[in-house]
Symmetry: C2
Subunit: 429 residues, 2 copies
């Protein structure tokens, strides 16, 4: 597609996630002016959110100040802003801090939880896509145990100690494993008066295997790991509703629970103004070509979770994960450089580096392009890779110290209700 | 005063701060049943709150799960509860989770910010007594800088970058020093577009010297340190009001500021039901004898900040600080043991271990009973003592790693707005 070459252009990037940050790195030394917008002042390492929820890590150790990333990029500006709308005809972005003009726009706004239109599930379930959400879940889990101690109603106590996780992708599997370890390692010590056998962890999956993006081998092994940890895995079970008390499914399986965690779907975090032929309505993702360029507007690009690169080989785009986002950010950076140099753009080529998930202590599954393995070694690989992709030396150190400590002591000391979720205190209590 | 000796008594402790926890340790192996109540599920190391506010530390590293402290105390129960009222005539505590009977009651509810009845200051100023408050202040400081970038109104920008700290006790002094270091080390790198000279840190003190609980030598040196860091120290200046925009004082000094931090007073966090002759109305502290026992009720004790041990030598009680709280908790523990053994109680004797405050990198003042010193060595002593008093090996490790990192890199990477204070997002965004 034709695209105008502009010298020293103003590029606006929406979103400082994996895609936006990886693009920023490439553009840092180019003859372009960049404005990076994000509604948070930090980059968030989503793959470790479940450890924040389960008291294994501090939120601050998986977040990194965006301004710190950009400190040495003299051609960058960061603005803490919520983007309200894009006005592509006039090359403008409308935000809660005002209007911004752009020459090229890059949408890297990521993804959000997809409730598939079920407002009852949306209202009553917990999600884990952001740090505040992860902290809310941490508070709720701990508040549930505290409440379970107080009630003499056995049914209520059961519901408080019953956890239902919907969706057995990496997030659901990792969370289920961590909760099972809390049940085994923390509950008996912290709550000697509670019958910990009541604590049930249920992982519910509509398909016929867990971790369906991974190999059959990984799925099987992960399921065996979960069962060894005492997690109830429900396959071929589709959750139909949750009213805050009862989870109903398409089978006769029913759960009475105070806590349903919805990890069963994501959708693009598209922004108002991009619509029609540019959008997949089902998944809310922006359709782009192999240069991450929109159909309708040649100076607008989308990368990462929000972008769906539609080619014959990838009719539904690439998986909404960190790797495609990082690679697309990098590739778009190179293409914008080429554009400025008057060279033709090069199509995005995804390099599948594999996938992995951890189930718990000494238990992980890893699918590399050439090797598949599971168990202790996989677990070390999982930890090494996650430490490596964390941004910042301090964060790596802190996460490492926590992991070593948690491993040696079978402990999770960040089991802190800093801001209660259920019981409302004043904002500063 | 007479007190009934009860075998295997039920002791209720209100508060898991320094006093409550130090008492708990002594009672852990006694023939008593203890219920510890706190509205938080963690013990909070208040002396380091200012580092949470200024992005130097994670909140989770200065908090410690109370249940973890009590794990090995088989005679203890913890309940997460807000105490609403004490009914001393019927030996009952009324909480938001129900009624509790006690044989002996220990009030260790600590202290809260004292606004001396000025509701305008209470509404508009920030405080730093709890972790959520410290996090609110962290968010506000960072939001101010983000906003300052956006406004073209110079007066508004000045107000956003002007910080007024009222009260030059250790909290005020340490916060002022940390803000000055942010101005010097972080602002120019993170906000190259802002004229950092606009950032003013004002420390306002009604008396004629700062750190008035410490030696003259410490006061002088701390003031010199602050001035070197560029903090404006205003002595003999009493703040009279703050409407959210302008701080007025008893002199002609006036500050236009978006951020006033009130560290000028604390009062006892007394609980409804303890009143009259048992209470100092001015400071809201509970009057106790040298056995930490109330005048009116011989089976109720108060320890720590909320307790005022009235003797001839201490007409206003001991300072509201960690050391008297820890020592009173310990002493009351021994006295309760003696009581159960039929021995007479022993009066509390305060062992003054000195006081210290840090102003910033390589700068602290220490008053020990026999030595007074300031500077680099004092700074190392300050760090060592604070690490030592932190509860938990993990917390000490994490704080230590952060300190080493921050020292070497002149950095504070927890400058994260996890939950905005000004701009209201949804609770989970």
């Amino acid at each position: 597609m034709n695209i105008k070459r502009i010298s020293n252009p103003r590029i606006v990037i929406i979103g400082g996630g994996f895609a936006g940050v990886s693009l920023a790195k490439v553009l840092s030394k180019q003859d372009v002016q960049v404005v990076l917008l994000d509604k948070h002042n930090y980059h968030n390492f989503q793959p470790l959110l479940y450890q924040v929820s389960t008291g294994g890590l501090e939120p601050d150790s998986i977040a990194y100040p965006i301004r710190k990333i950009l400190q040495n990029y003299s051609n960058f500006q960061f603005r803490l802003a919520n983007v309200l709308e894009i006005d592509p005809k006039n090359n403008k972005v409308i935000t809660d801090i005002g209007l911004l003009k752009y020459d090229y726009l890059v949408i890297a706004s990521g993804s959000e939880t997809n409730y598939f239109g079920n407002t009852s599930i949306e209202t009553n379930s917990m999600s884990m896509k952001t740090i505040p959400q992860a902290l809310n879940l941490r508070s709720l889990i701990l508040e549930n145990f505290e409440e379970a101690l107080l009630t003499s109603d056995l049914q209520e106590r059961n519901a408080l100690m019953n956890f239902v996780i919907v969706g057995a992708g990496p997030t659901g599997v990792e969370l289920a494993g961590a909760l099972a370890e809390i049940k085994k390692g923390i509950l008996p010590k912290d709550y000697p008066d509670l019958d910990t056998r009541l604590a049930q962890i249920n992982l519910v999956q509509s398909g016929n295997r867990i971790l369906k993006e991974m190999s059959e081998e990984a799925s099987k092994k992960a399921e065996a790991f979960l069962e060894k940890l005492g997690v109830n895995v429900w396959k071929n079970t589709r959750v139909s509703n949750y009213d805050g008390k009862v989870v109903t499914t398409n089978t006769d399986v029913v759960f009475e629970t105070a806590t349903m965690i919805w990890a069963a779907g994501v959708k693009g975090a598209n922004i108002k103004g991009i619509e029609g032929a540019d959008l997949v309505s089902r998944s809310n993702r922006i359709i782009v070509n192999e240069f991450n360029q929109l159909k309708t507007y040649s100076n607008i690009f989308a990368i990462g979770d929000v972008a769906q690169i539609e080619t014959e080989a990838t009719p539904y785009g690439y998986p909404m994960m960190a790797q495609p986002a990082i690679q697309q950010g990098k590739q778009l950076g190179h293409n914008l450089k080429r554009l400025l140099e008057g060279l033709p753009l090069e199509p995005f080529k995804y390099k599948d580096k594999g996938a992995m998930a951890t189930v718990g202590r000494n238990k992980a599954v890893v699918d590399l392009p050439k090797y598949k393995f599971q168990g202790v070694f996989a677990w070390f690989v999982w930890m090494f890779v996650h430490l490596f992709f964390l941004i910042g030396f301090r964060n790596r150190m802190i996460v490492f110290v926590n992991w070593v400590y948690n491993y040696i002591r079978f402990d999770r000391e960040a089991r802190l209700i800093i801001r209660p979720f259920k019981k409302k205190l004043k904002s500063d209590e």
